[in-house]
């Protein structure tokens, strides 16, 4: 009897897959949860709690307290209006009959309801909730097909597709299997444990035992728990030797590469520690997903420029998915892989040092930068010239200018070295080691490494002036050149990552080098191959920068109106723009004088006639004119001085102090009077007023 059944039961649904790739797995898990919540809600099935877990071999949905039956529902369908539904005698028309038939409703149950003042017919359909077990098969099937994978595949003779072949489906409500199909596969109440450490299929009687049963079969299904175990394991193994370095990206991947993690301590020949640590770390992280260990170092034998307090230890941690009892064999295998990798890296490094950075620089002539823009040697020449220009413009002291020049010459040299060809991500870092090795001054070595900074959103800016100069020159050359070559970013396509480069330039200019971007871009454009130097190029590049400035300033929290007002006057001087935005936003939000003033400015600007000029005939000034004129002429020198000194808060306060005079003038003076002489004089007064504000920002953008 239905009535004796509990109202709720637990649902367990597991999609068993051969082995899912790590990268899309996290997103799939999030999707599965959202899909499940939406589907259950749409199916009117209440539940108490819902969890989604993943391992490389399974996506699991656990729903506790799921209603055994859908809630009943009442669906109303709006039909024709009363006038159309019934004839004069009150009999149903063909229209109404058709509507009722279409909805499968008896004519007698049609109701009339008011809708916006007109009576309409309504068909009300009562839908009795179905048992959950009748609804779940198609609902769960929809979850399998609903996950949006970046790439799917077919397998065997089946036509269904998934990220990798689905090999089992477990679906139970309470203790009962929910029958469903995916391709040729039928659901059951069986799951599987670890691929090698548990070989039998395992029946699951209830959702609540699932995690424990799997744990007994060497599977930690909760990805969060696996992450904790991995982090604990790494730290524990690393502790006797130092501190483990755990990049989030590698950790996230490793969590999705195992079902039963255990951390193994491995080591390599300390002889390899003579290779720059970045190279060793890269070989461990990117290629093998190993975790390096950092230790307090007593020695000062670093090849790099600055002595580091910490150095790499020759131990590393491997997360194994194998039997902990076999740890020695597994560790030995991984050590031999690491040995081969490090031997390769050390070989490249030693060969590179024989050639030397100057030697690699010579080979840039055979390395293409971009078809229209020539080789890396050509690019280097342009960077050098641009750095020279920047040194001039910024009056950089001679010694720093020399370092900047030298760094510019060598910045790209490592791109042709064996090590950077093999480990592209280490560009710059490798070059700085080679620079130190051939006796370049530490400032030069550092600038070579840092000229790629900032490499991503939120990355550190280059620290030294020479590094800033080269970073700026390199990026502006790339942006200007690539846009000239016809590859300006469009939509999601930005093959040369120009947006990121532009943000780098703007951040450097805002925080470090007070330059007008227009001047730098003009200089950069002027040294491109002549066929690329078209008329509109500089403006096109500046517009590109302006759009990036806007997004940076918006990200700083300035309103779109404030940003637009400021960029209208100082689009190419982002440091100044940032100061103005800060002052303007602060002032507009704290001073009520401000709103009137911007309204007055807008009015003045709309009436103004630049042809009139700002010559005032003092004989013609009426009283209200005279007051306004006095206020303007009195304030003018101070306002100009504040603007000049970038003392924008004071500047804005001065303007705000004019508010009463402005209001008074607008209230009492008839500007567009028929008296032509008076009108000219008043328009000239407006021009005086406008001239105080115009160099700062276009305030019309503020008053909407």
């Amino acid at each position: 009897m239905d009535i004796l059944k509990p109202y709720t039961a637990d649902l367990l649904f597991e999609i068993g897959v051969e082995e899912m790739p790590s990268t899309p797995l996290d997103a799939a898990r999030v999707q599965l949860e959202a899909l499940a919540r939406t589907a259950l809600e749409q199916a009117r099935l209440d539940y108490k709690d819902l969890q989604v877990y993943s391992t490389p071999r399974r996506l699991a949905l656990l729903v506790s307290g799921l209603a055994q039956r859908q809630k009943d529902s009442e669906i109303e369908y709006k039909g024709p209006s009363k006038a159309i539904a019934y004839d004069a005698e009150g009999n149903a028309t063909k229209a109404l009959e058709g509507f009722a038939r279409g909805k499968g409703i008896d004519l007698a149950t049609i109701e009339l309801r008011d809708s916006d003042g007109t009576e309409y017919t309504y068909a009300i359909k009562q839908e009795k909730g179905l048992p959950a077990r009748d609804v779940l098969p198609s609902l769960l099937q929809g979850l399998i097909t609903g996950i949006d994978w970046p790439k799917k595949q077919r397998w065997g003779s089946s036509e269904v597709a998934f990220i990798r072949p689905v090999r089992w489906i477990l679906a139970i409500l309470g203790a009962d299997t929910i029958p469903l199909n995916f391709g040729d596969l039928e659901s059951s109440n069986y799951t599987y444990g670890h691929r090698f450490l548990s070989t039998q299929r395992i029946p699951i009687q209830a959702m609540r035992e699932y995690k424990n049963v799997l744990r007994g079969n060497k599977v930690i299904v909760d990805h969060n728990r696996r992450r904790e175990m991995i982090v604990e394991g790494i730290n524990q193994q690393a502790a006797p030797h130092g501190t483990a370095l755990v990049p989030e990206k590698v950790l996230a991947e490793v969590v999705n590469l195992c079902e039963f993690p255990n951390a193994l301590l491995c080591s390599f020949d300390p002889e390899f520690l003579r290779v720059p640590r970045e190279i060793l770390e890269y070989a461990m992280n990117a290629h093998q997903r190993y975790f390096a260990i950092q230790t307090e170092s007593q020695t000062e034998d670093q090849i790099g420029d600055q002595p580091k307090e910490e150095s790499l230890d020759h131990h590393f941690v491997v997360i194994s998915n194998g039997d902990p009892a076999c740890a020695p064999v597994i560790a030995a295998g991984n050590e031999s892989v690491m040995r081969a990798r490090l031997a390769d890296a050390a070989f490249f490094y030693d060969e590179d040092l024989k050639v030397g950075l100057d030697g690699w620089k010579k080979r840039l002539a055979t390395l293409l930068f971009q078809q229209n823009l020539g080789t890396m040697a050509d690019k280097t020449a342009r960077i050098e010239k641009l750095v020279a220009y920047l040194c001039d413009t910024l009056a950089v002291p001679d010694d720093l200018a020399r370092d900047g020049q030298r760094a510019a010459q060598l910045a790209k040299a490592d791109l042709s070295s064996n090590t950077v060809v093999e480990f592209t991500e280490l560009q710059g870092i490798v070059g700085s080691y080679y620079a130190s090795q051939q006796g370049e001054n530490p400032e030069v070595a550092r600038a070579i490494a840092q000229h790629y900074w900032p490499r991503y959103a939120g990355d550190t800016l280059p620290e030294s002036l020479p590094a800033q100069l080269v970073a700026l020159a390199d990026k502006v050359d790339t942006i200007t050149g690539i846009i000239a070559a016809g590859f300006a970013p469009k939509g999601s396509s930005d093959p040369y990552a120009l947006r990121r480069a532009a943000i780098g330039v703007l951040r450097i200019v805002m925080d470090q080098l007070p330059l007008d971007i227009a001047d730098v871009v003009t200089a950069a454009a002027g040294q491109l191959p002549s066929e690329l130097q078209t008329d509109g190029l500089t403006q096109q590049v500046l517009d590109f920068f302006a759009s990036r400035s806007e997004s940076i300033l918006r990200d700083c929290g300035y309103s779109s109106e404030v940003v637009a007002a400021v960029l209208a006057t100082v689009a190419t001087r982002p440091a100044d723009a940032a100061l103005r935005c800060a002052a303007l936003q602060d002032f507009t939000s704290s001073s009520d004088a401000w709103e009137n003033l911007s309204v007055a400015y807008t009015r003045a600007k709309n009436l103004s006639d630049p042809e009139v000029g700002d010559r005032i005939d003092t004989d013609l000034l009426a009283e209200s004119d005279q007051n306004f004129y006095s206020a303007l002429t009195e304030a003018q020198p101070r306002i100009a001085a504040y603007l000049d000194e970038h003392a924008y808060a004071d500047y804005l306060q001065q303007l705000a102090d004019l508010r009463a005079s402005v209001d008074d003038f607008f209230d009492n003076a008839m500007i567009m009077t028929d008296d032509q002489q008076l009108r000219r004089n008043r328009l000239a007064l407006l021009n005086l007023f406008i001239a105080l504000i115009e160099p700062f920002a276009d305030l019309r953008r503020l008053s909407k």
């Binding site: 595949q153 003779s157 990798r164 998915n321 194998g322 076999c326 064999v329 040995r339």
Partner: protein, 318 residues
């Protein structure tokens, strides 16, 4: 070299025989290597052409593979311009294909339960064959030893049913089995008296000579001429409705391209054009193999994914 004490360890040739036996027992047709230079076992017509069409097909074979740019003059213990793959094709892919693979390692003396075996994402794509599939690299204690791929398209045609391709890197696997750090130290064979012949004895001088040939000596004008001639012969043979012999010339073109590449004779811009020329030939061979009636499918499939794949094909071996 006398290594009596290693008598219980599989030699290189015994490893190959053991895997061949395993797959023979499973029901595979054991083929011999294709008698033409190829960059990988995948290029064997028993894989490329037999992956197409509805028929079942299970085969295993060793394929010597040539990658001219990977030559290191015999000095790198892990890199060779000529090496061996053991290639298995199971079509349609059986449900237990992954287990079948792991079982096969046991005949080499590798018990997967005693190691850390991983399946690490590896999406495969062959620009010249107009082919792609999804699968994994198989890692054994951190070492990539096998590639595993479910073919989705070959020659621009959907694979129905889907074949599973298992490509064993024989040298790497046997280095683990024998516990050696250099490929040249692999024991290839062991006489009853205990005299060993190593991989180095068999191939070291070849690696030295071929590296010198591939990088320094191969005649560029000759190869450029050969490429054009092989291409023309392929077209000519296709016109006679003989796709299988025509496909031989796809392989010839591909190998000549790889040699030209090793000689540094192909610029970045020309590279893509050469790849597209070989790809075009490969697709036409596949289309002809599938019967002329099916040829229109290839264009449709091609236009659907062609643009996307072409964009990613900058690098890559033919």
């Amino acid at each position: 070299m006398n290594v009596r004490s290693q008598r219980d360890m599989l030699t290189f040739q015994e490893g190959i025989l053991a895997l061949q036996n395993y797959w023979a027992n499973y029901g595979c047709v054991i083929l011999q290597p294709y008698d033409s230079e190829v960059g990988a076992g995948t290029f064997h017509p028993a894989t490329v052409l037999r992956s197409l069409g509805p028929d079942s097909w299970n085969t295993a074979y060793v394929q010597p593979s040539r990658r001219p740019t990977d030559g290191r003059y015999g000095e790198n213990p892990n890199r060779l311009q000529h090496y061996y793959q053991l290639q298995v094709i199971l079509k349609p892919s059986p449900d237990d294909v992954v287990d079948l693979y792991f079982q096969s390692l046991k005949v080499l003396g590798i018990d997967p339960a005693k190691h850390d075996m991983r399946l690490v994402e590896d999406d495969w794509e062959s620009p010249t064959l107009g082919a792609w599939g999804l699968g994994w690299e198989v890692w054994l204690d951190g070492m990539e030893v096998t590639q595993f791929t479910y073919f989705q398209q070959v020659g621009g045609f959907e694979c129905r049913p889907v074949p599973a391709e298992i490509t064993y890197g024989l040298e790497r696997l046997m280095m683990i089995v024998q516990g050696v750090d250099s490929v040249y130290d692999l024991v290839w064979s062991l006489s009853p008296a205990g005299d060993a012949v190593t991989y180095g004895d068999v191939f070291k001088i070849n690696e030295q000579q071929y590296s010198a040939y591939n990088f320094e000596t191969a005649s560029v004008p000759f190869l450029l001429d050969l490429f054009a001639q092989f291409e023309a012969e392929c077209v000519h043979t296709l016109a006679a409705q003989l796709p299988i012999p025509a496909y031989d010339y796809v392989l010839k073109c591909s190998h000549v391209f790889n040699l030209l590449d090793a000689r540094g004779a192909i610029s970045a811009t020309e590279r893509q054009a050469y790849i597209l020329r070989v790809r075009d030939l490969a697709k036409r061979c596949c289309a002809a193999y599938l019967q002329p009636a099916d040829a229109s499918d290839a264009d449709a499939a091609d236009s659907a994914d062609g643009a996307e794949t072409a964009a990613k094909q900058g690098g890559g071996e033919l």
